[in-house]
């Protein structure tokens, strides 16, 4: 039997203006959180991860574009959080690359796969970040603590993704 050729799913590239608009929206949101909402629960919110999910899932950005935007978003997150430069840049770039990889296999922007895709991307972001923190920086956290933070972060960011999806639609 002839092997079935896998169809390469082509996604249309979004306009740069559209991406810039979304980016500005999330940047303002991040600034808002920085200046006006200094609360402990804000630590669980990763606005730039949510932006990246919007970029790859809703706007369907792929390839180098998504990598560069991911890198940029990560760098900004490092600057706003006051942490070591490069940690978030690394994790967001990895998120973007993963979305490219998955995107070649399945249609992640389809309604049924949006939420699972977003959750997967958030988990990837958290995993890569804590890997870097523990290996390169030397910060050791207990597994239970790590898992509980991860669960809360994924849940919070997923909710924010859904809310902003509804708003920006």
């Amino acid at each position: 039997m002839a092997k079935k050729k896998r169809k390469r799913i082509k996604r249309g590239s979004p306009e740069n203006g559209q991406i810039l608009g979304v980016f500005v929206f999330f940047l303002l949101l991040r600034i808002f959180l920085l200046f006006f909402y200094q609360h402990a629960s804000v630590k669980y919110v990763d606005i730039m991860s949510v932006f990246l999910c919007h970029l790859v899932i809703r706007l369907r950005a792929t390839g180098i574009k998504s990598l560069i935007w991911g890198f940029l978003a990560g760098l900004l997150e490092d600057i706003f959080s006051g942490g070591v430069l490069g940690v978030n840049a690394f994790s967001k770039t990895t998120m973007a690359q993963l979305s490219n990889f998955i995107g070649r296999k399945v249609e992640i922007s389809s309604p049924t796969l949006q939420i699972p895709s977003a959750i997967l991307l958030f988990i990837t972001d958290i995993a890569v970040k804590y890997f870097i923190v523990s290996t390169l920086i030397g910060l050791n956290l207990s597994d239970k603590f790590l898992i509980s933070i991860a669960v809360i972060k994924v849940a919070v960011n997923t909710i924010i993704f859904l809310v902003t999806y509804a708003v920006l639609r």
Binding site: L34, G86, T93, L136
Partner: protein, 272 residues
């Protein structure tokens, strides 16, 4: 895909390099704190300055009101002071009158000068005592500094007194210093002392007192002070001009001097 992978690797390497270099950018992260501090400082300074300005406005307003109140109080106090001074002067005059009353054992009646009667010369004044108080026509009227007039007309409740400078007024006087005697008459403005020979010793500044002749004007009470003494070749007597020591219109209270107390008793005994 190759380009994509290469881009991913490059970006990852850049991130790793940044991590290894341990570059921290804290300026943005600390920005809220700095901005908040500055905003709070700004608000505090505005609040402090505006508070001070409001306080100063309120204080200025309070000071203005206080100033106004003090000014009104000052005016009232000044009026009181003027009144006190007037009362003090009046008190002095009344004490002098009382002294006259005590010194001369004469039945005297204290009377208030009500005002000018409206005569042409402005020399006649109304007093608030009349016949029902024992006032009689011709009685002497004394002020705090001497004789001021004579009762001219008497009514039941009031009387009219003429001033010493009234043309109808005359009194027997004596120079207090040289004891030279004459008759003083009013001329509307001053007193003319008549029947003084040129050889008599009368000088400007001499005090003229009543002699008591006639029993109307008590002896020794001041009448006037000499202001002019002149001799005329044609006239037989000296031309002496005097001014009264006191004026009726300058007194609020006067004494109407009656008969000597001893003399009154003698007359009563005579009638019996």
């Amino acid at each position: 895909m190759k380009r994509e992978t290469a881009a991913y690797i490059i970006l990852v390497l850049i991130s790793a390099a940044l991590i290894v270099a341990r570059v921290k950018v804290t300026t943005i992260a600390q920005l809220p704190e700095k901005v908040a501090t500055k905003i709070v400082y700004l608000f505090e300074s505005v609040k402090r300055e505006s508070g001070e300005k409001v306080r100063s406005i309120v204080e200025a307003n309070r000071i203005l009101k206080e100033n106004q109140r003090l000014e009104e109080e000052n005016i009232k106090l000044k009026q009181k002071i003027t009144l006190c001074k007037t009362l003090y002067q009046e008190n002095l005059k009344l004490k002098k009158l009382l002294g006259i009353k005590k010194h001369y054992k004469i039945k005297s009646i204290a009377a208030r000068v009500l005002g000018w009667t409206g005569d042409y010369w402005q020399l006649r004044f109304m007093l608030d005592k009349g016949s029902k108080d024992g006032v009689k026509e011709g009685m002497a009227v004394a002020g705090s500094n001497g004789i001021v007039g004579q009762i001219r007309k008497v009514y039941k409740n009031y009387s009219v007194a003429m001033s010493v400078v009234d043309p109808d007024f005359s009194v027997h006087v004596e120079d207090f210093r040289s004891k030279v005697r004459g008759i003083a008459r009013g001329n509307g403005r001053t007193l003319n002392v008549n029947y003084v020979l040129p050889s008599m010793d009368v000088k400007v500044g001499d005090l003229l007192v009543a002699t008591g002749i006639g029993g109307i004007f008590p002896t020794g009470l001041y009448i006037g002070r000499v202001i002019k003494v002149s001799k005329s070749l044609e006239e037989k007597f000296l031309n002496i001009v005097a001014v009264p020591t006191d004026r009726l219109e300058n007194n609020k209270f006067v004494l109407i001097m009656g008969e000597v107390i001893g003399k009154e008793k003698k007359e009563k005994n005579k009638k019996r």
